[in-house]
């Protein structure tokens, strides 16, 4: 599909360029499955029985990273920060079976309910530590938004913190020489940009269809290296000061609807409905 969005001139340039090997860091978030949320009588929420999952939108980032690495002969490192649920072996296999070569996790219960500022800060410190350890990466990928907050912020903040070229809404990525050609799908327009590396990109859900891991993928995942850090290991013993204080989280109040329901498909019924609507000034 590359030819559809890369102008002919660029295709020519691309053909003459070598493709560099891309080493990619993919960030993902584990959060309780919203389907497992139970509303208690006071409208507070219980996640006691909740399954923790990788955000659905993060899977697009993982897939984008893995297919880019496969195409360029590079590596993919998965990175997540969060509370102790990350330690679960199933959660680790779930990410590694989707293709990343290794996994780094910053696990600390102080990261439960972290705001996007905290998450981005810890990710940035972890990536700096990875670099200091000699890991050289070319690209950081994030998903469109997390499954719980869907703030669509971490990629933007992380890129800025690391001083990298940063974009969101990335719908296509094509390596071209020592940089990337990126298609960005905004609300009413499409942008094509040339992005030098390293860069931080957040991808859309349209960028690909994430693969479903097979039996061998899961078996292999069990053998991949996992490194776990605490906030102390990152020199963040004091934690991160969040940008907001959470006051309250509850199930939304249901608007009291009239709930007047008719069964059947008769003209009579439609007339009743239309009469009721007219009382409300519609149409």
């Amino acid at each position: 599909m590359a030819t559809r969005f890369i102008s002919k001139a660029l295709v020519a340039i691309q053909a003459n360029h070598w493709r560099m090997t891309l080493n990619i860091i993919v960030c993902y978030k584990l959060s309780p499955d919203a389907e497992d949320l139970r509303i208690l009588p006071d409208r507070s929420l219980s996640f006691a029985e909740a399954e923790w999952r990788i955000g659905q939108y993060d899977l697009n980032a993982v897939e984008a990273g893995v297919s880019l690495a496969e195409a360029t002969g590079g590596t993919v490192t998965a990175l997540s920060v969060g509370p102790k649920e990350l330690e679960n072996s199933k959660a680790r296999k779930a990410i590694l079976s989707r293709g990343p070569h290794d996994l780094y996790q910053v696990v600390d219960d102080r990261l439960r309910d972290a705001d996007t500022h905290t998450t981005a800060q810890v990710l940035a410190v972890a990536i700096r530590k990875l670099s200091a350890n000699g890991y050289s990466f070319h690209l950081i990928l994030c998903g469109e938004g997390s499954a719980d907050l869907y703030a669509q912020q971490v990629g933007a903040q992380l890129g800025q913190l690391l001083g990298l070229p940063t974009l969101n809404a990335v719908a296509k990525i094509e390596p071209s020489g020592d940089h990337l050609i990126v298609e960005r799908a905004l609300e009413d327009e499409i942008e094509i940009l040339e992005v030098p590396l390293p860069a931080a990109l957040s991808v859309t859900t349209d960028i690909n269809l994430p693969r479903i891991p097979g039996m061998r993928d899961i078996l292999a995942a069990g053998k991949k290296p996992v490194t776990q850090w605490s906030l102390d290991d990152l020199g963040l013993s004091g934690g991160i000061r969040p940008g907001v204080e959470i006051l309250d989280t509850r199930a939304p109040l249901q608007v009291n609807r009239k709930r007047q329901i008719w069964e059947g498909e008769s003209e009579d019924m439609i007339n009743k409905l239309v009469a009721e609507l007219r009382k409300e000034g519609i149409p």
Binding site: S89, G214, M215, R216, I218, L219
Partner: protein, 431 residues
């Protein structure tokens, strides 16, 4: 990645599969445990108590850490009609102390815990993968196929549940017959812990297991059950499929009516439904049992039909664990001797015969036939509750002799004394 081969592949991470895998890993074998649910337990549902003493050998003291709901100290077995019940109520504090006799469990939690134990012991747990078929080398089973992947092993243990497609594919059994299987429909009803303990007269951690026969299933062969969990009730019906078909009743309706039966409704009153599920229960006993193995493969648990309904209690998970253990031991011997053929199958059946699994299956061998007596679901509940009504009724008229009451009750139930005597004899023999 090179061709990876395991000593054993276990398909299905229920109690049978996880037990087999755990035992094999404890003995140093390389084991892959493959589960189609996203997590072990996600596809599993039970309508019985776990009589789990048999796990003690593998996981000493496991009751202290396993996600067990309540220790069953109270067994209540009851005949039910539209407006009355007559029950046998047994309670002992002995079952509430170690070594406990049986416990209520929620399978999504318990099975996951057991599979985690297997994983900790070194089993490669692969969940979220459906095994599509068996791989064969010549006449022998040599692995499994899932999607585009084939995984090889010296042998396969099929622990894939009541529908066992693997046993069927391997030709170890034919299509399941409706008379050999029952449909269980279960509701999980949430209630506060204190309400449950008050309502069922339980001290903390004690539990009750109810079994009902009669009106619960609208005359369909089967019964109803209720088990107390810590903060919920597992309540539902089990209906033998041939009889359900014959009755032309909607399974979902029978299950719902049970919850609204005037004598059952108060037990679940104020509760909130938090899960609705259904599962098949093998009920054919020895008659439906498939061949238990073929070269390179053994069948365990529900897949092998190891469940028991003794009318007083329903068992499955303990037999699953027992058969899983026997299969693991047979596999160990086979791995040592490199004989995955008849030798292994014979070892497995020998071990089963010597264990409680086959002994109990044989003890209750007559039970499935006895339970086919449809009087059990219609006439007997009517008879005993009518008898009790006559005994307890005090309405200002002179009391009749108990014997007269019994004969009158028998008459109104439509049975002869001879039928009653014959059924008693059959019932006693079946027990």
């Amino acid at each position: 990645m090179g061709e990876e081969k395991f000593d054993v592949i276990v398909v299905g991470a229920g109690p049978a599969g996880s037990t087999a895998a755990l035992k094999l890993a404890q003995e140093g074998c390389s084991v892959a445990l493959i589960e189609r649910g996203e997590t072990p337990g996600a596809k599993n549902l039970s309508g019985s108590v776990l009589y789990g003493r048999c796990l003690e050998n593998l996981l000493p003291g496991f009751t202290a850490q396993a996600p067990i709901e309540r220790y069953v100290t109270n067994h209540i077995t009851t005949f039910l009609t539209a407006d009355a019940w007559f029950g046998l109520d047994y309670k002992t504090s002995v079952f509430g102390a170690p070594p406990y006799n049986g416990y209520t469990v929620l399978r999504a939690k318990f099975d996951r815990w057991l599979a985690d134990k297997a994983e900790e012991a070194g089993v490669m747990l692969v969940s979220g993968i459906r095994v599509d078929s068996l791989a064969r080398t010549g006449e022998r089973i040599s692995g499994v196929v899932a999607g585009k992947d084939t995984l090889l092993a010296d042998m396969v243990i099929a622990a894939d549940g009541a529908n066992s497609f693997l046993a069927q594919q391997a030709g170890l059994r034919g299509r399941i017959q409706p008379k050999h299987i029952a449909l269980g429909v279960k509701s999980l009803v949430s209630l506060p812990r204190a309400t449950i303990e008050d309502r069922f007269h339980l001290s903390s951690e004690e539990g009750t297991a109810y079994a009902w026969v009669g009106e619960v299933t609208k005359g369909v062969a089967g019964g109803g059950f209720l088990y107390t969990n810590l903060e919920s009730l597992s309540v539902g019906v089990v209906m033998r499929l041939d009889d359900l078909k014959k009755s032309r009743q909607e399974a979902a309706q029978v299950a719902d009516d049970f919850l609204h039966h005037p004598l059952i409704a108060p037990l679940v009153r104020g509760g909130e439904l938090i899960e609705y599920g259904a599962h098949l229960v093998p009920e054919g006993g020895l008659e439906m049992m498939p061949q238990l193995g073929m070269p390179g493969m053994l069948v365990v648990g529900d897949a092998a039909g190891f469940t028991l309904n003794t009318a007083l209690m329903v068992r499955g998970m303990d037999l699953a664990i027992g058969s899983g253990l026997a299969a693991a031991q047979a596999a160990l011997k086979a791995i040592a001797s490199r004989d995955f053929g008849d030798g292994m199958i014979n070892t497995y059946t020998d071990l089963l015969e010597k264990s409680f699994v086959m002994k109990d299956m044989r003890t209750y061998a007559r039970m499935p036939a006895f339970l086919e007596t449809d009087r059990l679901y219609k006439q007997y509940p009517a008879f005993v509750t009518e008898l009790m009504r006559r005994i307890f009724l005090t309405d200002g008229t002179p009391k009749e002799h108990v014997f007269v009451s019994a004969m009158q009750a028998l008459k109104s139930s439509g049975m002869s004394l001879w039928t009653l005597a014959a059924d008693c004899w059959k019932g006693l023999r079946a027990l």
